[in-house]
């Protein structure tokens, strides 16, 4: 996925001079995950900016650039350090359009690696999508593989609104997929049916998509159950149509995410499905998530992040309800 993201950045920068990249170590070093590799060499240090170590100013100056008409792509080195700039995101990125009644807008992308399962230090394994999803004015995107990552990143760069773009660290190198040469885009705000089925809806995104898919395969093999798997791709605005349509068909849903459960994204997904498909529901909508604990260190992360076995068990519960 690293290469696919890098390609998206490269091609968009070639296409549009207003696109800039900024962040800690994104320049000469090419980013700690190499997503911005080679861009500095190609576009120079004015367009690929190695910033000082200060997240609020990365976003804050990015806002200023965007107000001027540029399209900054800001990288926060790990999502765990984005609360340092959360005030700039909430006070300004999300609101400048409203605050200026349309005179200004903030066509900016905020990229960050998120997620667990990669044996990382404290504050390097969290999934904070919920915080961004709840902020009106922001869009929140999480790809699940190289091809949709690239297409969504291109769409995010071209989007006139600020987009928070999460990249799962576990997918950077693990996920491989052929990506065409010509630029593709995917619409922000649309989920995809990753696997069709009629007995149960599994909702997932990011690295959990693979988990949901594998669970669906096992259900088909072992239980003769056809699960539909929905890949959200965009968390906010949430594609309620696709979710509701699926559950109207299946009557049952299990949501899988890495963020802690309580007040997490699964709650909105469940509540939205209930709103739209109440009369179709044959079981409570279940959530398979990390526990409501601070990330407990990687020696314990396997006990925390959802895996296929947990999804399977809860799916079977839901089917048996």
């Amino acid at each position: 996925m690293v290469k696919a993201l890098n390609l998206a950045l490269l091609q968009e920068m070639e296409r549009d001079e207003d696109v800039l990249v900024m962040g800690e170590d994104v320049g000469v070093d090419g980013g700690v995950f190499r997503v911005t590799e080679d861009l500095h060499r190609k576009f120079g240090s004015k367009r690929v900016i190695d910033s000082p170590l200060a997240e609020a100013a990365i976003i804050g100056t990015g806002v200023g650039m965007a107000l001027y008409g540029l399209k900054p792509i800001c990288e926060i080195q790990f999502s765990g350090f984005a609360f340092q700039c959360f005030h700039q995101i909430e006070n300004h990125c999300a609101r400048y359009r409203m605050r200026s009644q349309g005179r200004f807008h903030v066509p900016m992308v905020i990229r960050m690696p998120y997620g667990g399962g990669v044996r990382a230090l404290e504050h390097h394994s969290e999934s904070e999508e919920q915080f961004y999803a709840h902020v009106p004015g922001l869009k929140m995107v999480i790809p699940s593989g190289p091809r949709n990552a690239r297409a969504l990143l291109v769409a995010a760069i071209r989007d006139p609104d600020p987009v928070v773009f999460f990249e799962h660290k576990g997918l950077y190198h693990a996920a491989k997929e052929d990506v065409p040469d010509e630029i593709e885009t995917l619409p922000i705000g649309r989920a995809q049916v990753a696997r069709e089925g009629r007995d149960l809806t599994l909702v997932a995104y990011g690295a959990m998509l693979r988990v949901a898919r594998e669970a669906a395969d096992t259900l088909a093999e072992e239980d003769g159950v056809e699960a539909e798997v929905i890949d959200l791709l965009t968390i906010a605005p949430l594609d309620r149509e696709t979710l509701v349509a699926s559950v109207q068909k299946t009557g049952r849903a299990v949501i899988v995410h890495e963020a802690p459960r309580s007040f997490g994204p699964g709650a909105e997904i469940a509540a939205s499905i209930m709103d739209g498909a109440f009369l179709s529901l044959e079981a409570p909508i279940a959530r398979v998530t990390s526990w409501d604990v601070p990330f407990p260190g990687f020696a314990r992360e396997k006990g925390n992040v959802p895996d296929v076995a947990r999804v399977l068990a809860i799916a079977r519960d839901t089917l048996a309800f």
């Binding site: 200060a54 609020a56 804050g60 001027y68 900054p72 005030h87 359009r97 009644q101 609104d161 939205s272």
Partner: protein, 341 residues
């Protein structure tokens, strides 16, 4: 120059009355800081950018913000935060110091595009304690961008005096932390502020990077109309600074030089009165427009919410007014389930 200061002062006084009458909400008067604002803002060209904090009435007026727009802002209409197309100013920013990195970003973008643009950003003494101040100054220093940070050190951040705000002897010396030139000027001397700002703006324009200017001044009035300064500062202190009132001082100077036009006060008052009339003539806020500036395009859930809100308004007794929601006695709306998704 004098006109700008006078306009600032007179509008301030009128706004306090409007606030007392409940026609606008809380706002921050500028009394005492007119020289700092006017002396600095006048060194900008129209093509330059101005980034205000929340107490820059005089600077904003000088940049061409219509009085009625400012009044609207403080009457709770976000329309008051909308600069005209082509006007290179940011709107009033309430969260202290958060606008400073925007100024640095604007300056970076101007430099990137090769535009001949200088950015002037305002903040107060209290704002220098925020992390955003530090990060903005540091980025500006490293990037060497054309930005002037104009700090109005009015001695107080609400009830907190400068010596509880920082142990630094001056605000100007904080510039050293960023390898940026720092100047301290008498902020109640409009010509001194002008001279210092001109120097800083010229330095920026010539590509020699940012400057921090500390204007030593005083907030003669309340922090905002919700504040009672007698709780935390002495009348003697205020009286002492009143003797240094920048407007009185500049008036005396101009009188001595026989440079004062006649009828200026009347003209200024008439301008204000006309603007207030226009302000009062603006209709009630159309509530549904709140859905307009969230995203470039209305996403499905907001379309649904907007429809639901519109339904309310149609059915509400006093639909269309500022108090848009139907009152509790109005017939409740039914059958909105379909749009609740």
């Amino acid at each position: 120059m004098y006109r700008g200061m006078l306009l600032g002062r007179r509008l301030d006084e009128r706004m306090i009355r409007l606030q007392r009458q409940g026609r606008i909400g809380t706002f921050a008067p500028i009394k005492g800081q007119e020289a700092s604002q006017i002396g600095s803002v006048l060194t900008l060209r129209r093509s330059d950018w101005m980034v205000p904090s929340f107490r820059e009435t005089a600077s904003m007026l000088s940049r061409g913000w219509p009085i009625e727009k400012l009044l609207k802002f403080f009457a709770g209409y976000l329309e008051g935060g909308q600069p005209d197309e082509g006007q290179n100013d940011l709107p009033i920013t309430i969260p202290v110091a958060t606008q400073l990195p925007h100024a640095v970003g604007l300056a970076y973008a101007a430099q990137y595009r090769g535009d001949d643009v200088v950015v002037m950003a305002y903040c107060g003494d209290g704002a220098t304690s925020e992390g955003d101040f530090h990060e903005a100054l540091n980025f500006a220093g490293v990037w060497s961008v054309p930005v002037v940070f104009l700090i109005q050190n009015n001695q107080w951040a609400i009830s907190v005096p400068l010596k509880k705000q920082t142990h630094s002897r001056t605000i100007a010396q904080k510039a050293l932390a960023y390898g940026v030139p720092g100047l301290q000027v008498d902020g109640n001397d409009v010509l001194a502020v002008y001279a210092a700002s001109r120097e800083a703006v010229a330095r920026a324009r010539e590509g020699n990077g940012p400057t921090l200017i500390e204007c030593v001044t005083y907030r003669l009035g309340v922090h905002t109309t919700a504040d009672d300064p007698t709780k935390y500062r002495s009348t003697e202190e205020v009286a002492e600074w009143e003797r240094k009132d920048p407007l009185t001082r500049f008036t005396a100077y101009l009188k001595k030089k026989r440079l004062l036009e006649d009828g200026l006060e009347e003209a200024v008052d008439a301008e204000i009165a006309a603007a207030i009339q226009r302000f009062e003539a603006t209709g009630a806020a159309e509530p549904l427009t709140m859905f307009e500036h969230v995203y470039a395009e209305l996403p499905p859930h907001l379309k649904a919410q907007r429809e639901q809100a519109a339904g309310w308004l149609r059915e509400g007794e006093n639909g269309g007014g500022t108090t848009a929601a139907p009152r509790e006695t109005s017939p409740p709306m039914r059958g909105q389930r379909a749009t609740r998704r």
